[in-house]
Amino acid sequence: MVSFLDQLHWIPLFPLAGAALLMVFGPMLEKRARALIGFIACAAVLLSLLWSAGAVFELSQSVERSFEVVKFRWEPGLQFRLAGGGLAHLRADWGFLLDPLSAVMILVVTGISFLIHVYATGYMASAGGYYRFFGYLNLFVFFMLLLVMANNYLLLFAGWEGVGLASYLLIGFFFDRKAAGDAANKAFLTNRIADAALILGILAIFFTRGSVRFLDLAAGPWAATIALLLLIGAMGKSAQFPFHVWLPDAMEGPTPVSALIHAATMVTAGVYLIARSNLVFTASPDVANLVALVGAISAIFAASVALAQDDIKRVLAYSTISQLGFMFLALGVGAYWVAIFHLFTHAFFKALLFLGAGSIIHALHGEHDLHRMGGLFRKMPVTHATMLIGALALAGAPGMAGFFSKDEILAQLYGTGSPALYLIGILTSLMTAFYMWRLMQLAFYAKPAHAREVRESPLSMTGPLVVLAGGSVIVGWLGLPEAWAAGPLFQTFQNWLEPALGPHQEVKAGWLAGVAVLVAVAGIWLAWRFHDRRWHGPLANLLRNHWYVDQLYHTVIVRGVAHRGGYYLGHFDRLVVDGGVNGAAAFTRGLSRLSMFWDRWVIDGAVRAVGTMAKMGSFPVRFAQNGSVQSYALVLIAGLVALLWFSFGRPV
């Protein structure tokens, strides 16, 4: 019998084979059998998903919770002298490691990828370069699997660069759009800086420990340096402040790409890297604090920016940065399993939200502006229903996936971090609920701001939405706190990850969940309230009736209470609540404008300055390279004189 576990290497090989097939036969199929292209791409990922599921199942049945398959040894024979004085061989095999951590990652990657591939067959149906798109997408899945399944840092780095390349190709997929090309370049440049740090980090690991295998990693010398370098690398890939600039611009790519790469999988590679290297981070508390700080800044900053975005995909992009910030917060306080848990749930609902947004954009023929949407509630029932679930999950409505994972992060912040971090987390949650609900209202419930005939998307697109929506509801139940868990099933997640990430700490404070719920409700209510003045017409009435809470408020509080009470209440409502809401709105507008300003001028400026510096840096070179052979000779002699000066003429 074939054991999935022994043949682990097939998991990444299927998508690679798919990519190769598409690249070679794609041009031929493009004209004659477009359906076959989509089929090959989906089948490759499905095979890989099934194989992963089989392998993870076998892993769960075995006693040994870490399984390594080395396909061939890559051991360039020479010896190196290490920092400690010992001699070591560089060894970085083509080996794959399946342990609880990578098991979670491969399930997320293959599962979400498969759904998004199916979705893309519908979304990209009329786009040119169909085979190229799916070829790149399959290639991305291959590299991503390489990244999460590698058994050493070097192979991880190969995957790391590979997903960068695939992302670069896919962001710029619509290469006739200049913005797409610019965005691709920006993503590339920003990531390069971070990748340089990662290379150095890996070098430092080898140089001090003599091995780049994950299983050989231990705390030890240079832990802080290594952790810092890995952190910078992770910040680039996971779009953390101040490296986050590339992610919103990367939304120029096709929406399935945004969902797959820039929400569910690639951007979480940084979280994975830190979780994978948790020993060095635990050994250097200062850097761990820095991780938390980076996460906190990214979380609250990106959430505040998302409040004022009008492009539906940009709202989601900033939201992704903010949620990744949450994961970094969890990593920073040492709650590694919680970070992975949030990564897991986030992959579902954020992919769902992006795909839903894609469904809207598809239906509106490429419209991204939230203010030109509206009224889609009845016309796109499936998209609406699934996105509502996604939005509630992200906002942290009780029972949804996002509720449990985010609540656990907040609890960990409260339990181990400082109160300030907890406060930032709460504030971010409030904003999250606010902007998500604002998005929902503008897109679905507001008066239609367009005169288009809108039709629900085809089954190939709504199908994945429904599956993801189901996931967004149930996956959270796998990681409940001990107090709520009715059985071990509800604690699958933390128990599963224990062998890889260490025992989990339980924070026992039941009221924290109450606070989180309150905050989510408050955010949603504020968003609803903030748009109250736009609340006209039949759609608004319908919603009011539909929403029992509102009816209740009217009957029980306004009418049920005496006229005077109602009168004062009305005054209270108008003066205090409206005033407060307006004030808060003005404040948030100001805040997000400030953040936008920072983003646009300081960060973009910095990126642009790097570009300009490159041009300026090349200027003197080009200036000297003026084509005249004698100026070359002059520089040569100047060099000789300089050599003489520095070797002998220099005063001792």
Partner: protein, 489 residues
């Protein structure tokens, strides 16, 4: 001083001798060769035959030197065959063979398909053999000049092309200028030691002890001369012009074989006679290496001409190689050897793809970056090969290029040059940007469909280089074991 021309001398000289014989013979025999398409086959076949016979002679030397550390000293100590020279000789032969394969179609298109070209390729190759084996200033200088003079002509081989003329005259003037400075340094070394033998010079400098004005002048002029040959800043300025104007096949040969031979010379000199002065030249070389990295990478960033871009990228590679010399330990020196071989296949590969897309009929004469647009859709296999070559140049695993960089970086860390390692790693990031500009053009823009100037030789060469680039990354062990011997002893 026994005997005039012993059998040991003959054995040591045979590979280079074969190249000289075939190189000269091809000029004479051209008149006997048939005209028309058959002529191409004869010329290429004869050239490859010459390289093959040199390879056989080299193989016999290889067998004779199977014991580690053994060497053959010939011509009264002025010519050495050791594992260092053998390693480099194989590189030169491989480069010459690949260049022969990619040249003929190119020369036919340019209308300059003549026997001299192959004669010069072979003669340049024999000059490189003398550089790698030289143990005497005279031998090395003659080898250098034999190589350089052949290259001057090769660079200007497209006589009717103004850019080729200009590249040749610039390369010639600057090259012979720097050679004369090098010769001046050699003459001072001779004056200091009374001998032209490298080992005796080393002993003389060692006993001399501290650095005085004459030694400093000798060291500086030699450094300038050799750094010119390896195109290190600020002595690199000939490279972009010569690379851009030369026939692309010659650019390929120049950028890899001449570079490797010059590094052989550099290693022989600086780990031989000048090794007692290493405290003096190490910081200088470090400074030059950093300047080379900066200038090469930054200038490449904004280039629109692919050949100039590749020229600046070669300049930056020279910077990495020099860092290996700065580290100077076993890892660093092996790193240089490994790096050179890997760089050779990748750079040859990039340039041969450029040759393949350049046809007279499509009117591409400027080698603009946009010529590569849409190559991914038009010729997927060539584009894929190009991608592999570029990844290797950029140093991304699992291609070989990563290995070369890795050795250099590690040698820097081993010797405590952490700052240099950081700088070098940062410039890897910069270089990725311009290599990926090419990738971007190939895969993400649409270009006009054009025919390929491919040929059997070209396809074979692309296949060899591509497979070598990948294999060196995936199964480096046998190769590394071979390269490990390439140390100057």
């Amino acid at each position: 001083m026994s005997g005039y021309y012993t059998s040991a001398d003959h054995f040591a000289l045979l590979p280079a001798l074969m190249l000289v014989l075939f190189g000269s013979a091809i000029l004479l025999l051209e008149f006997l060769m048939p005209k028309g398409p058959a002529r191409t086959r004869w010329l290429v076949g004869f050239t490859l035959l010459g390289l093959a016979s040199a390879a056989i002679a080299l193989l016999r030397q290889h067998q004779a030197l199977s014991a580690p550390g053994s060497r053959i000293v010939a011509f009264s100590g002025s010519f050495t065959i050791d594992s260092f020279s053998l390693y480099f000789d194989w590189l030169f032969l491989a480069a010459a063979a690949i260049v022969t394969l990619i040249s003929y179609r190119y020369l036919e298109i340019e209308g300059e398909h003549r026997a001299e070209y192959y004669g010069l390729i072979l003669l340049a190759c024999s000059g490189m053999f003398f550089l790698a084996s030289g143990a005497d200033l005279i031998t090395m200088f003659l080898g250098l000049e034999l190589m350089a003079l052949s290259f001057y002509v090769l660079v200007g081989f497209l006589k009717r092309e103004r850019r080729s003329n200009e590249a040749a005259i610039k390369y010639f003037l600057l090259g012979s200028f720097s050679s004369s400075l090098l010769a001046y340094g050699f003459s001072l070394l001779y004056g200091l030691s009374g001998s032209t033998n490298l080992e005796e010079i080393r002993r003389a400098i060692f006993t001399r002890g501290s650095l005085d004005a004459i030694t400093a002048l000798a060291m500086a002029t030699i450094l300038a001369g050799v750094l010119f040959k390896v195109s290190a800043a600020p002595f690199h300025m000939w490279a972009p012009d010569a690379y851009a104007g030369a026939p692309t096949a010659v650019t390929a040969y120049l950028s890899v074989a001449s570079q490797a031979a010059s590094f052989a010379l550099l290693l022989r000199l600086f780990n031989g006679p000048l090794s007692p002065l290493d405290q003096e030249w190490r910081p200088l070389v470090a400074g030059v290496a950093v300047a080379t990295l900066v200038i090469g990478n930054f200038a490449a960033l904004t280039q629109e001409n692919v050949k100039r871009l590749i020229a600046y990228s070669s300049v930056s590679h020279a910077g990495y190689l020099l860092l290996g010399l700065v580290a100077g330990n076993t890892t660093g020196l092996r790193g240089i050897a490994v790096y050179l071989a890997i760089y050779m296949f990748a750079n040859l590969g990039v340039l041969m793809v450029l040759i393949a897309i350049r046809t007279r009929t499509s009117g591409m004469l400027e080698e603009d970056l946009s010529d590569l647009n849409g190559l991914g859709a038009r010729h997927p296999l060539y584009a894929a090969a190009m991608l592999v070559f570029l990844l290797s140049l950029a140093g991304i695993p699992p291609t070989g290029g990563f290995l070369g960089k890795y050795y250099i970086f590690l040698s820097l860390l081993e010797t405590g040059h952490a700052v240099l390692a950081v700088i070098a790693a940062l410039y890897v990031a910069v270089s990725l940007y311009y290599y990926f500009r090419i990738v971007r053009g190939m895969y993400m823009t649409q270009g006009e469909p054009g025919p390929l100037a491919s040929s059997i030789g070209m396809n074979v060469a692309v296949a060899i280089s591509g497979v070598a680039t990948l294999l060196l990354g995936l199964f480096p062990e046998p190769f590394l074991r071979f390269a490990a011997g390439a140390l100057v002893r």
